[in-house]
């Protein structure tokens, strides 16, 4: 049985997202899809479904929503002020949202991209086989007030589960690998790049995170304005003509002529996507073998997310709505893409 999510109010960049498109780089379309793919996996774990189920991605600000029938939702990614009809909701948790109740998601408290998942996933008409949004390529537009978004039947509905999630918005060390063009920068610039603390520039978007460091040297190598355009990918760090680093993200262009100083490990990209204003990241070059082991460990951790979900522990004296909550139904199969 399907239902509709009714959008009563929406922030400036609320989009429906899945894990994006694959196989279209040769035709000029990068992945698109969710900026924080780990948040997609966390929502899927809380709801016991595939992380390819589409969710709402909300940049900076959520909105007001209601459903045409009861369903279980999960909230992941950047934590936002959240309530159902005035009753505050825990983040990184699943909740039942009764038909007609008003879900309000406000401004982010830290991080950038919050996610609203629904049991069964949202099911807009597919474009090129995908249910996500790629704004730069013109594949779907942001969700606006008045929109109605269908969602699919839920195989199992679980509410009242929570997941302990480490904060991804505080910056820290981001692991990088060399690219074919890293040598063009020379050892001094490569060393300076790794000794610089970068913050997120407000001009960042789904195409790329622009990094800012007021006292940093100009990272642009000499004679880079005539290099041949080559294929670029999510995670590549381009240095533009004026020396500014951009980490290319989900809606990256597929080719580029600016030199790439390094590429970010896929498992560290969610921390770049969610970097809070003012928080600092530093880059650290590692070896290919180290990178493979780090990615292997990250994949194993993602596969364990379902098993890590715990029932919310609540003080019964504060739980006036205990009877209204479906605490647990169904079990987690712990399944996810391997």
């Amino acid at each position: 049985m399907t239902g509709q999510l009714l959008v009563h109010q929406a922030g400036p960049c609320v989009t429906v997202q899945d894990l994006g498109w694959h196989g279209y780089v040769a035709q000029g379309i990068s992945r698109g899809g969710a900026m924080d793919v780990l948040a997609m996996a966390e929502g899927a774990a809380l709801l016991g479904q595939s992380s390819s189920c589409a969710a709402l991605e909300m940049a900076g600000f959520g909105g007001q929503f209601s459903l045409t029938r009861d369903c279980v939702i999960a909230l992941t990614g950047a934590e936002m002020r959240a309530d159902i009809d005035g009753r505050a909701l825990a983040w990184n948790a699943s909740h039942i949202l009764p038909a007609g109740a008003r879900l309000t998601l406000g401004a982010v408290m830290r991080g950038v991209y919050g996610y609203l998942h629904i049991a069964g996933g949202f099911s807009p008409p597919p474009i090129l086989g995908g249910c996500g949004t790629h704004l730069a390529a013109g594949l779907r537009a942001p969700i606006a007030a008045g929109a109605e978004l269908p969602f699919g039947a839920a195989p199992t509905s679980r509410a009242g589960l929570t997941l302990a999630v480490a904060d991804r918005s505080a910056g820290g060390v981001i692991r990088i690998l060399p690219t074919l063009q890293s040598d063009m920068f020379g050892s001094d610039l490569l060393a300076a790049f790794q000794n610089t603390g970068f913050t997120r520039d407000p001009r960042s978007n789904r195409m790329g995170v622009r990094l800012s460091a007021p006292d940093a040297p100009n990272f642009a190598p000499e004679a880079a304005r005539n290099i041949l355009s080559d294929i670029v990918m999510e995670g590549d760090i381009q240095i533009t003509g004026d020396g500014t680093p951009y980490v290319l993200m989900a809606e990256s262009q597929t080719t580029g002529g600016y030199p790439r100083i390094a590429q970010v490990l896929p498992c560290d990209l969610p921390r770049v996507a969610q970097l809070s204003t003012g928080a600092e990241i530093r880059f650290q070059m590692i070896s290919h073998n180290e990178a493979i082991e780090i990615e292997r460990a990250a994949q194993a951790a993602r596969a364990q997310l379902g098993a890590m979900c715990q029932p919310v522990l609540r003080d019964p004296r504060e739980a006036g709505d205990l009877l209204a909550m479906q605490l647990i139904s169904g079990v987690t199969a712990g399944e996810d893409e391997g």
Partner: protein
């Protein structure tokens, strides 16, 4: 993993990319997620947890040794598109600047740009967006240091002996010289993507006064296709 056939524009290197990328796709190497060709390189997106870099390197080296890829033929079933275009004025605000950098007057520039078929050497940056070339050597003009904030869908821009025809509105560091009415990528159209690498485009100059009529004639902006025998 990247296989590079050259570091400057070169027709043989570009043909090698197209042929090698097609051969890699046919080999269906387990663990390779995506293959795409650029101007002088082929990129393989692979899962290092399923396929070690050493093993992939070995497979590619063996494939490279199978034939002289620089002598490879262009793919079969290519399309030649004739695309109406207006140059200069409101349709190409940087046309005069580009002509000055190339050292030719505007009439000569139009004749040079429209005089021969331009090959789609690569698709990239945005959906179905072609890198077209190659123009005569005096068109080896650099990208601008500062970005033009936005050129419209269908815009023609030039730099480094190439023309790009924009499929979506976009910022660019290339010089905006002209405009077409063509929609290279329409997600609701079948096929959604108009061009493939290896296709060719002949630009047909249209006077500015006539361009709006030509552009609004049909969704392809008056563009016509025929198969290259």
């Amino acid at each position: 993993m990247v296989v590079r056939f050259g570091d400057h524009l070169n027709a043989a290197g570009n043909r090698a990319c197209l042929a090698f990328a097609a051969a890699v796709k046919r080999s269906e190497i387990n663990g390779v997620l995506e293959v795409s060709s650029a101007l002088q390189s082929v990129l393989l997106h692979y899962d290092p947890l399923r396929l070690t870099p050493q093993k992939l390197h070995g497979v590619l080296a063996a494939l490279l040794n199978e034939q002289d890829w620089y002598a490879a033929a262009l793919p079969n079933g290519r399309t030649l598109w004739e695309v109406p275009a207006a140059f200069g004025g409101v349709y190409g605000p940087q046309f005069a600047q580009a002509c000055a950098l190339a050292g030719v007057d505007e009439a000569t520039a139009v004749a040079e740009i429209c005089g021969a078929a331009l090959r789609v050497q690569a698709i990239g940056f945005a959906p179905s967006q072609p890198y077209l070339g190659e123009l005569p050597p005096h068109w080896n003009i650099p990208r601008k240091a500062e970005l033009t904030p936005q050129v419209p869908k269908g815009a023609l821009v030039v730099a480094i002996r190439q023309i790009v025809l924009f499929s979506v509105p976009s910022p660019t560091g290339w010089l905006h010289i002209g405009q077409t009415g063509v929609g290279l990528f329409e997600p609701d159209r079948d096929p959604a993507f108009m061009l493939r690498a290896g296709d060719e485009i002949v630009l047909r100059p249209v006077a500015a006064a006539d361009f709006e009529a030509v552009r609004s004639r049909d969704p392809l902006g008056g563009a016509r296709a025929r198969v290259i025998p």
